[in-house]
């Protein structure tokens, strides 16, 4: 009896925390649907009075959102592809071989994860400009972001590879595979879920990337939605509902995708992709 009360208490606490955590998200949706005067009403209204869905189409058109979102997609897809391509091999080697150099590499990888983007941007900017990479700003952002996101991916995927017994690949070697064949035909298919899930997480991160894009992409036609949103907000902004509408259009697809894939993502991260 007291056990059920205990559970209920915990459930209540969970819901409360969830509500607090998700409140800003709700506020974004609510504000987007409010009229200009209602935004500044005091006390603030919790539920918008008149619902005005036309605002989304208007913001989409006036702010050229199609172009911004396209740029975000290009950068996110490119980054994800680069990270997955380079990171999978790296994670595999780090999972399968053990020696001092591997330990050093692992340490460096973890250290990279600690460095904030805002600190890294200056040396990256200088280096890229010297190499002429800034003439291809979106590609430059992809490269920089790949470097930033790689440790996260490598650590997740390495754990996946480590959960696959090395004997499976050894059996494949004896059965007639080359080393690379055993990796491609045995390890890779078994790690598929883990790689896929980690890649999706990278995509989501890259889709919201701001620091590198803001610094490296001057040409407005090449900027992603995150920078576009930032440009929308000036010191004298009053159009909060439009800004929130922009934000809504920007994050809702990602949010929806996450909710749809949530079960796979969680299980992929915890179960280690075997079975």
């Amino acid at each position: 009896m007291s056990a059920t009360r205990h559970t209920r208490l915990l459930l209540f606490a969970a819901i409360l925390l969830g509500a607090i955590y998700l409140f800003p998200l709700y506020w974004m949706y609510a504000t987007a649907l409010k009229s200009g005067s209602e935004i500044f009403a005091y006390p603030p209204t919790f539920i918008p009075r008149g619902l005005d869905f036309g605002i989304f189409a208007e913001v989409w058109a006036t702010r050229d959102m199609g172009r911004f979102i396209w740029n975000s997609l290009v950068i996110a897809t490119g980054s994800m592809a680069l990270v997955a391509l380079l990171g999978t091999g790296c994670a595999y080697v780090l999972a399968r071989y053990r020696n001092v150099w591997i330990d050093i590499a692992l340490f460096l990888v973890l250290m990279l994860q600690v460095l904030p983007a805002s600190l890294m941007i200056t040396p990256i900017f200088v280096g890229f400009s010297a190499l002429g990479l800034l003439d291809f700003p979106r590609f430059a952002v992809m490269l920089a972001f790949t470097a930033k996101a790689m440790p996260f991916f490598v650590i997740l995927v390495r754990a996946t590879f480590m959960s696959i017994p090395a004997e499976l690949e050894e059996a494949a070697l004896v059965d007639g595979n080359s080393r690379i064949g055993a990796f491609a035909l045995i390890a890779l298919p078994l790690a598929r879920n883990g790689i896929l899930v980690s890649a999706i997480l990278i995509f989501m991160q890259a889709f919201g990337e701001f620091v590198y894009s803001k610094s490296m992409i001057q040409d407005v036609t090449l900027q992603p939605a995150s920078v576009g949103l930032n440009g929308f907000m000036g010191p004298n902004t009053v159009e909060w509902n439009k800004i929130m509408a922009y934000a809504t259009i920007y994050v809702t697809p990602i949010l929806a995708a996450f909710v749809l894939l949530q079960q796979r993502i969680v299980s992929g991260l915890t179960s280690g992709a075997l079975k």
Binding site: E167, E170, A171, L173, V174, D175, G176, I186, L190
Partner: protein, 358 residues
């Protein structure tokens, strides 16, 4: 007729960093024979087998398969098949695909694969499970799939790494016979790793006993039992294990006095160096209880266990002496007994080196 050696290991050495895992291993395996590698855990059995498969590179010496040195040959070109202790079945493939994996790798035709799979499935009784994934099989069935994956290859050499250790006792005894029968039927050469000396004794033509990376002794199973070369082999082969008692050879060299209460003296079948310290080995099944006045070990039974077919007698203490009797004897705890043994069944070992004294 000289039998062509299928596998030769010539002073094979293996180091893991500073650790010397295999020390100067020399073994010759004739074609068609069944060789067991036995030894306690960590003695290097798996390492030796993996070196044969090419999964581990050796640090010195030479491995030859059908006369050809394979030191630098990758596993896929050695034409060996291996059954792993964990079975190592590919979890994302059906039983059929697991077994035919090697054939698909060498681009065998569809018809050829189907025929081979059907063949092997019939031999192993796996016909009903071909479309299942490994995780939907019992331990015994998985073991068979692992065997099937090896058999389908029709390789020069089969390598088994403790393939039965995950099965229950009854199935283990059954599979033991089956693997041996399969070996005879296919006419393959097999190397079988086990830590179970009974498996080694019952299955193999030739047993190699390893201890800390060294070959202690090799030979036919019964020769290891009858004439163990070292105290280690004597204690390892045979169950229950041989009893060891310290002792000293008598003045005439024709008897040995044991380090036991009452200093019992046993006659020897051969003349030894007088007054020499020795370790005396007495197999439990060679000891018998004598009621007549024959010279033996006067002691008391501290505990008696009977399985119905045999009786285990534990006598004395420090060291305890185990006796196996096949007759049912009416002895109970605390009874005095006189243990005797035929002089030619007494094993003597050097206390320092452990080498057998003959």
């Amino acid at each position: 007729m000289t039998i062509q050696p299928q596998i030769e290991l010539l002073s094979v050495n293996k180091h893991y960093g500073g650790f010397h895992a295999l020390k100067d291993i020399n073994v010759t395996i004739p074609k068609g024979s069944f060789v067991a590698l036995v030894g306690p855990s960590g003695c290097g059995k798996s390492t030796l087998l993996r070196s044969l498969a090419g999964l581990e590179s050796i640090s010195g010496g030479e491995i030859r398969i059908t006369g050809k040195a394979v030191n630098d040959t990758p596993p896929r070109h050695r034409d060996v098949a291996m059954v792993f202790q964990s079975y190592a079945l590919y979890p994302h493939m059906s039983v059929r695909d697991n077994m035919s994996y090697s054939m698909r790798l060498r681009k065998a035709s569809r018809a050829e694969i189907d025929a081979a799979v059907a063949d092997v499935a019939a031999i192993l009784g796996l016909g009903d499970y071909l479309d299942r994934k490994p995780n939907a099989l019992s331990g015994g069935q998985r073991q068979r799939v692992a065997m099937g994956r090896a058999i389908i290859r029709n390789p020069k050499v089969f390598l088994f790494d403790e393939p039965l250790s995950n099965l229950d006792a009854a199935l283990r005894v059954h599979m033991r016979k089956e693997i041996r029968a399969l070996h005879d039927r296919i006419g393959a050469t097999s190397v079988y790793v086990t830590h179970d000396q009974i498996e080694a004794m019952t299955m193999a033509d030739h047993v190699v006993v390893l201890k800390s990376g060294v070959v202690e002794q090799q030979g036919a199973p019964l020769s290891l039992y009858d004439t163990p070369a070292t105290k280690f082999v004597a204690g390892f082969i045979g169950s229950p294990a041989m009893n060891f008692v310290g002792g000293i050879v008598g003045d005439t060299g024709r008897a040995v006095t044991l380090d036991l209460p009452g200093a019992p003296s046993l006659p020897l079948a051969r003349t030894m160096e007088p007054r020499r310290q020795v370790d005396v080995g007495l197999r439990p099944e060679h000891l018998s209880i004598e009621t007549g006045g024959a010279p033996g070990i006067e002691t008391t039974a501290t505990s008696v266990e009977s399985t119905g077919s045999v009786t285990y007698l534990y006598c004395g203490g420090d060291p305890e002496i185990v006796v196996v009797l096949s007759e049912r004897e009416r002895i109970s705890q605390g009874d005095p007994v006189n243990l005797t043994i035929a002089p030619d069944k007494i094993h003597l070992f050097d206390p320092e080196t452990g080498a057998a004294l003959r």
